[in-house]
């Protein structure tokens, strides 16, 4: 009974933290996407929702796949250590993804100048 409670606690806490980070990125990252989409708010909202779904998929995928690994605890202190290690790993991965997303969002705003096509069909950059 301890083990299934530990598992369910791990899933619940990891899900709550993932949803928190995803909502933060969704709400606060919108302005970066509007900037990238050159003011096209509908496009920015679409990209935002698509990225949020991808974020949930990757993170919930990791959380559920990593559930069964690690030394199984037999008592309460072991269960707390087990939970702590697994949730700690989830937090580290969420943190890495969070900063990676911020890095990508701030980089996307800086664009290269558009290429132009010459009369003979060759493409050159301005």
């Amino acid at each position: 009974m301890t083990m299934s409670t530990t598992y369910l606690l791990y899933l619940a806490i990891s899900a709550a933290i993932t949803i928190w980070v995803a909502r933060t990125l969704h709400d606060r990252g919108r302005i970066f996407l509007v900037n990238c989409a050159k003011g096209n708010e509908q496009l920015a909202d679409s990209i935002n929702d698509l990225l949020v779904v991808g974020f949930y998929l990757v993170n919930f995928g990791y959380v559920t796949l990593a559930l069964k690994y690690g030394t199984k605890p037999t008592d309460l202190s072991g269960a707390i250590e087990f939970l702590s290690t697994k949730i700690g790993l989830v937090l580290l991965i969420l943190g890495a993804m969070h900063f990676f997303n911020i890095f990508i969002f701030t980089r996307m705003g800086q664009k290269k100048p558009p290429l132009a096509k010459q009369a003979n069909g060759q493409i050159f950059s301005q």
Binding site: Y7, V53, L57, G61, T64, L65, L67, L115, I123
Partner: protein, 135 residues
């Protein structure tokens, strides 16, 4: 209630239910929010956008629900609640990872085909698909 006989069918049913629910969620998201990219590529041709969107949706659902049902019997079996949670978690995790790869592949594909043109005055994907270049 969670004895050796009933836990495995319950696990199977939970796996199929959760797997199909996740596929429908991702499929709906791609259909609704990918429409902007499709419309851009089809240069405002509403009927073409709608048709393409519907065709892609059907293909997506067929592929993913088919894979989920095919992998139902893989992964061993569980005899009590703890093993059931582990098995379910692993299998749903694989479904999530496959959906994630598929999701980002779709976004990358959309961005390439229907997104920003490579150069100024470039033909849209609709124009490229419907005009034949005569050499």
């Amino acid at each position: 209630m969670f004895d050796a006989i009933t836990v495995m069918p319950a696990t199977h049913l939970c796996y199929v239910a959760i797997g199909i629910a996740l596929t429908v969620w991702v499929g709906r998201t791609l259909r609704i929010h990918g429409r902007v990219f499709l419309a851009k590529g089809c240069k405002g041709n509403e009927e073409l956008t709608e048709s393409l969107s519907h065709l892609l949706s059907v293909g997506f659902y067929l592929l993913h629900i088919g894979c989920i049902l095919l992998t139902l019997k893989l992964g061993g079996y569980a005899i009590d609640l703890v093993e059931s949670i582990e098995l379910l978690s692993t299998k749903i995790g694989m479904v999530l990872v496959v959906l994630a790869i598929s999701h980002f592949a779709h976004i990358a594909l959309y961005a390439r085909i229907h997104g920003k043109p490579r150069y100024a005055n470039a033909p849209s994907s609709f124009e490229r698909a419907t005009t034949a270049e005569i050499l």
